[in-house]
């Protein structure tokens, strides 16, 4: 029994007692279940296991604290209307926003944050971490940390460009199909059906094998693969708007199709489309990461998270977690966006249960 074990349990029990005394149900439940879990795991795994549980719980609490402060901060600086909306955000959504914010900062200020250039060889291959290199060197002796920071710019930028193009194509086709109707609508629907019946990764691999792994090919391929999903949603949402009386009135006024789309339909179908954009970004991001993991994404020496995992994967067999960091960065951003989207879907309650 070390001081750590005694102190840890004393802290947990004290916390549970205090929260129970002040009638705080949720903190009490959380603290006391943590006590029980630590107790069982402590018996099974000894002090080391207990230490891991404590670190994990501490990290979770830290993340919760950061998200809470970030939400309060946003509420204060946002205009009144937006601030009210933000008050309904759960902690997970606040956490998601905080993570997205961090990634944006990293992507914009990458050259300032990263100590070395992304293609700069500064040491020997797989050199361990020292005071110059926070995370050690990669397979060619480049600084891992700098490459991860630059990766935020390259990987996320590529995924964002691909998502935006998929969205533009899909949304435009969906809006046109909804307003024009008739054979155009039917035709686009069938095209979307066919594209969606090919697995996305397989379709992307087929296109990349033919046109070669260039950035522009990846963007076009992803846009083609994911636009049918956007098309279907836009078609469905806009289809409900098109039958409204004010659209009829605008048509009788003699407005053009483009005016109808821009001024009447689009503003009334924005909310679900924004949520769909987030979801779509997650899918695209995972697909692009998968492609670059397979060596078919952004080509070296540009830093890219997916290919960094693959290139340094040998380190894992020596028990080193460095290759997992870029993979974790991918997962973290996707989780964050998903958390925000989850809240937005919940708020626009028509899609409450998805």
């Amino acid at each position: 029994m070390s001081y750590f074990v005694v102190g840890y349990f004393a802290f947990l029990v004290l916390g549970s007692v205090l929260s129970a005394h002040f009638n705080r149900r949720t903190p009490f439940l959380l603290l006391f279940s943590l006590t029980l879990v630590s107790f069982v795991l402590g018996i099974v795994g000894g002090t080391d296991m207990l230490r891991m549980v404590a670190i994990g719980a501490g990290l979770l609490a830290f993340a919760a604290g950061v998200s809470y402060s970030f939400r309060e901060f946003l509420i204060v600086i946002a205009p009144v209307g937006v601030g009210k909306e933000l008050k309904t955000a759960p902690l997970t959504a606040a956490f998601g926003m905080f993570v997205v914010f961090t990634y944006i900062i990293a992507a914009i200020f990458a050259p300032v944050i990263a100590p070395y250039g992304e293609a700069e060889v500064i040491s020997s291959a797989y050199a361990p971490a020292d005071e110059n290199m926070l995370l050690g060197a990669d397979q060619l002796g480049r600084d891992m940390f700098s490459r991860i920071v630059y990766g935020a710019r390259n990987t996320v930028g590529l995924a964002l460009a691909a998502t935006i193009s998929a969205f533009l194509i899909g949304a435009l086709a969906g809006l046109l199909a909804a307003t024009k109707g008739g054979w155009f609508d039917q035709f686009m629907g069938r095209v979307a059906d066919v594209i969606m019946s090919i697995p996305s990764l397989i379709f992307a691999l087929l296109m990349l094998s033919i046109f070669g792994p260039k950035t522009i090919v990846i963007i076009v391929a992803v846009a083609i693969i994911y636009s049918p999903r956007v098309f279907r949603l836009t078609r469905a949402v806009a289809g409900n708007v098109v039958v409204m009386d004010y659209i009829e009135a605008a048509k009788l006024r003699g407005e053009r199709t483009w005016y109808l789309i821009r001024k009447e339909i689009l503003p009334n179908s924005m909310a679900p489309l924004i949520a769909e954009f987030g979801l779509e970004f997650c899918f695209v991001f995972l697909l692009v990461a998968g492609l670059s993991f397979l060596g078919l994404g952004i080509q070296p020496p540009t830093a890219d998270w997916g290919s960094m995992v693959r290139e340094n994967a040998t380190l894992i067999s020596f028990g080193d977690i460095t290759p997992l960091i870029p993979a974790g960065a991918i997962a973290l951003l996707t989780v964050a966006v998903n958390f925000v989207v989850d809240w937005m879907l919940f708020r626009s309650s028509g899609l409450k249960e998805r």
Partner: protein
């Protein structure tokens, strides 16, 4: 019954047409290559004689539609031509690999389907409780992680640090069945984690949707015991969405398997596809794409047919 038969046949026909269109896309997309296939395979430094010889060998001098018909006829009988890089028969390259991939997918499915449906139903019954929220966060995290992230985490903790399972799934024909299960456990577990999260969420949504319907509330109000509400009232209508969920996620396995095979160096068809893509070995790429697409369509078809067959309204027409 005639009604159902008609619907099923119509759906099957639609699936066949889709598959036909996709085979056209897969074949003619290669024709879009700048230059032609022979040029792309041999690269810039090819001599005119080599190009002519390869064109002759691949039959590129016949017009594309005729070649398509020949390719389609071959594909239907299981013959996909020869690899342009190694000169082997495509069928001999991917035949055995396809079986291994099917084995891996089936292994993952056998574990994932029962667990995730059970968990999905439990979470749906406990909705909005703390368990539901924790499950929501966990499944969302699992969905958001790339397959290779989960795979390497499992390798790190279950293979490298503890040495419980092998990190690389090399398989040979003379292994016993148990050995095979042990060797392929980590890739299967990776797939299970991804698919399970999807399946749980979809099952939960389907069940909650169902429990919100008025006839369930009626059953509760008239005092039916809770288990009976689930078994007698909810379950008959729940089969259709559940079958749908299972088939859709098995289809999802088809894509996930490519990345997982590469992570664990498992000699399956996904690995063959990735190798062929980087070597620009088009006959193999086309064959793999067609096989994956066909499996995908087949599973989606199974989902639709299953939904039609289990729909009580269609089984007992008025």
């Amino acid at each position: 019954m005639g009604d159902i038969l008609g619907l099923v046949l119509k759906r099957l026909g639609l699936g066949l047409v889709t598959l036909f269109v996709i085979s056209i896309i897969i074949f003619f997309m290669v024709e879009l290559l700048p230059g032609d296939i022979a040029q792309a395979v041999l690269g810039q430094g090819a001599t005119p004689e080599n190009l002519a010889a390869l064109r002759q060998q691949m039959g590129l001098d016949t017009p594309a539609p005729l070649r398509y018909l020949g390719w389609l006829a071959g594909a239907v009988t299981g013959d996909f031509g020869t690899s342009v890089v190694t000169g082997e028969r495509v069928t001999s390259v991917i035949g055995e690999r396809f079986q291994r991939t099917l084995f891996l997918a089936a292994y993952a499915a056998v574990i994932a389907v029962p667990i995730s449906i059970a968990l999905g139903v439990i979470v749906a019954l406990l909705r909005n409780s703390i368990f539901d929220r924790v499950a929501n966060v966990l499944t969302l995290t699992s969905i958001s992680s790339p397959e290779f992230f989960l795979g390497y985490i499992l390798v790190l903790y279950l293979a490298v640090k503890t040495n419980w399972f092998p990190a690389i799934s090399s398989v040979s024909d003379d292994m016993t069945f148990w050995d095979l299960l042990n060797r392929t456990f980590l890739p299967a577990l990776t797939l299970v984690l991804v698919v399970m999260a999807h399946m749980m969420r979809m099952t939960r949504a389907a069940i909650i949707n169902l429990l919100a319907s008025p006839y369930i509330e009626m059953a509760r109000l008239k005092g039916t015991p809770p288990w009976k509400v689930i078994v007698r009232h909810a379950l008959p209508n729940a089969w259709a969405p559940i079958i749908n969920v299972v088939a859709l996620n098995l289809a999802y396995l088809i894509t996930g398997v490519v990345l997982v095979e590469v992570v664990f160096v498992y000699p399956g068809i996904g690995q063959a596809l990735v190798d062929a893509v980087s070597k620009r070995d088009f006959p193999i790429v086309q064959a793999c794409c067609l096989i994956f697409a066909a499996t995908f369509i087949l599973l989606n078809l199974a989902a639709d047919v299953g939904a039609i067959l289990t729909n009580p309204r269609l089984r007992h027409p008025k």
